[in-house]
């Protein structure tokens, strides 16, 4: 009995990409085994790839063969445990008692097919499929969440970056309301030494210093960023500072010296550098101060970017230059090597021609066409190289002659007197007709 029709079997084999030959009584079993093998391979592949698409593909493939297997299983009429016992007995006695009639082969096929179906566990298939699909769905969901999180983080970080840049360039030095505080203060602290006044005094000094800092930073920034007010030096003269303060902040003027003393004595960094007459020696007393300069100049964002780019480029410049030089050297070297190789090729070509010419000369001599068995070297040169090339190819010719002298065993270099003149000659020394390697 045929569990699967021949056309069905052929169709299913073709769906796996395998093209069977004619299906006859003798070949049917082989092709059925092949189909089962392909099915189980497909299933094991589907188990290892847990994506919905691959799964779908696998199921498209396994759909029909699976039906065929189920059909096979359904068609086998014997109950499970009976065939199982039959298998046990059959496999033991299979090889010795080989009778070879068609019924037995059919039963054996039945056993084999049953064995295959139990191995593939058809009953658990829906659970496995569902588990697989659930896992796939969960994976996709997780992936979406993760990508959303990453987008949010990126946006947050970008916002943070922009805010930081803004704060650094624009937000500093926003202390504009000290004047109001000064006016509100009614206590006269001149000359008094108690702690409150000392604290007040300190506060006022700090305010002055902050004004000073701002002023110096702006000056320095202007100087560095294009110098619109045509300043010469970022170190501002003390007199100029005093003038500036007398114009804008007259109430601080009398505290100037005290504040400078504080800066001098304090170890904290106020952002203001005190420069004496001589630039290199450090300042020790207030009287020595000649000018002040800022160590943290104010520069707009654009200016900062420009400076950064310029610095980076200039530092890289030397590096780039070195790279360019190396690259140029490499190009030159390669050119040189190519030229050498071309010369070598030309030399080998010439060597081949020379060998051919000498051999031909020998053959001619053998046939009686030439009077002497050897041929002068210049004659070969003049035969092979046309006059216009002789000067150009002199180097290659010499190399070829040298090569022949050292590497060619069939040609011997000798000296002979021909027509009264001494010549270096080549003689072909291989008498037999062995075929050439070239």
């Amino acid at each position: 009995m045929a569990y699967l029709s021949d056309e069905e079997l052929r169709r299913q084999l073709k769906s796996f990409g395998f093209c069977p030959g004619p299906i006859s009584d003798s070949t049917r079993k082989l092709y059925q085994n092949k189909l089962q093998k392909l099915c189980s391979e497909e299933r094991s592949k589907a188990r290892s790839y847990w994506t919905p698409r691959a799964q779908k593909q696998a199921f498209n493939h396994t759909e029909q063969p699976y039906d065929s297997l189920r059909q096979v299983r359904a068609n086998s009429s014997s109950p499970l445990h009976r065939t199982r016992s039959r298998i046990r007995t059959r496999t033991r006695t299979r090889t010795p008692s080989f009778q070879g009639d068609s019924d037995e082969s059919e039963e054996e096929y039945e056993q084999q097919s049953w064995r295959y179906t139990t191995n593939t566990e058809p009953l658990r298939r829906p659970d496995w499929q569902e588990r697989c699909q659930n896992a796939a769905r969960r994976n996709v969901f997780l992936e979406r969440q993760l990508s959303r999180c990453l987008v949010a983080c990126t946006i947050g970080l970008a916002v943070l970056l922009v805010w930081l840049v803004y704060v650094k360039t624009v937000g500093l030095g926003q202390s504009g309301d000290v004047n109001k505080n000064i006016q509100l203060l009614a206590v006269d602290c001149k000359g008094k030494k108690d702690s409150f006044c000392a604290a007040e005094e300190n506060r006022l000094q700090m305010q002055l210093l902050s004004k000073l800092y701002n002023f110096l930073a702006e000056v320095a920034g202007d100087l560095l960023c294009g110098n619109p007010s045509k300043l010469k030096n970022k170190c501002v003269c003390l007199d100029d500072i005093k003038t500036y303060f007398s114009v804008f902040y007259p109430e601080y003027l009398d505290r100037m010296d005290d504040s400078l003393l504080t800066v001098l004595q304090s170890r904290k960094d106020f952002g203001i550098r005190l420069v004496g007459e001589d630039v290199n020696t450090p300042v020790t007393a207030v009287e020595e101060i000649h000018c002040l300069e800022s160590t943290h100049p104010y520069m707009s964002l654009w200016c900062r970017l420009q400076r950064a780019v310029v610095i980076v480029v200039s530092r890289l410049f030397i590096f780039m230059l070195a790279l360019l030089v190396l690259w140029g050297v490499l190009v030159l070297l390669r050119y040189r090597w190519k030229k050498l190789e071309e010369e070598d090729q030309a030399m080998y070509e010439l060597v081949r021609k020379i060998i051919g010419a000498v051999r031909d000369h020998y053959k001619d001599w053998d046939q009686g066409l030439e009077p002497i068995p050897y041929v002068p070297i210049p004659h070969i040169r003049d035969t092979l190289i046309p006059p216009q090339n002789r000067r150009r190819m002199r180097g290659i010719w010499d190399k070829a002659v040298e090569f022949l002298a050292s590497n060619e065993s069939r040609i011997r270099t000798e000296t002979h007197r021909i027509a009264g003149e001494d010549f270096l000659v080549w003689r072909w020394t291989q008498p037999s007709e062995i075929s050439d390697s070239s």
Binding site: G21, S26, T95, G100
Partner: protein, 90 residues
């Protein structure tokens, strides 16, 4: 009884004509008997089977094993004998 390599040489040297199935390399008396009982009484019938399986080695060897119980060496000898014959005469 000539050895398998001798049989191989003799079989491959000329068209098989009406040679018995035991003339195939790897097929001795026992296997030949089994094949004859299955209806493969001449070498050309086995050749027919070989060609129907599209000269595929795996299929032919499996078929041979299932039909007459040949071991791996016998399968290989028979397959290579037929293949060479086909290469020369087919």
């Amino acid at each position: 009884m000539s050895s398998t390599s001798q049989k191989h040489k003799e079989f491959v040297a000329e068209p098989m004509g009406e040679k018995a199935v035991m003339a195939l390399a790897g097929i001795g008396e026992v296997l030949g008997k089994r094949l004859e009982e299955k209806g493969f009484d001449k070498a050309y019938v086995v050749l027919g089977q070989f060609l129907v399986l599209k000269k595929d080695e795996d299929f032919f060897r499996e078929w041979l094993k299932d039909t007459c119980g040949a071991n791996a060496k016998q399968q290989f000898d028979c397959y290579s004998c037929l293949k060479e014959w086909c290469d020369s005469f087919l």
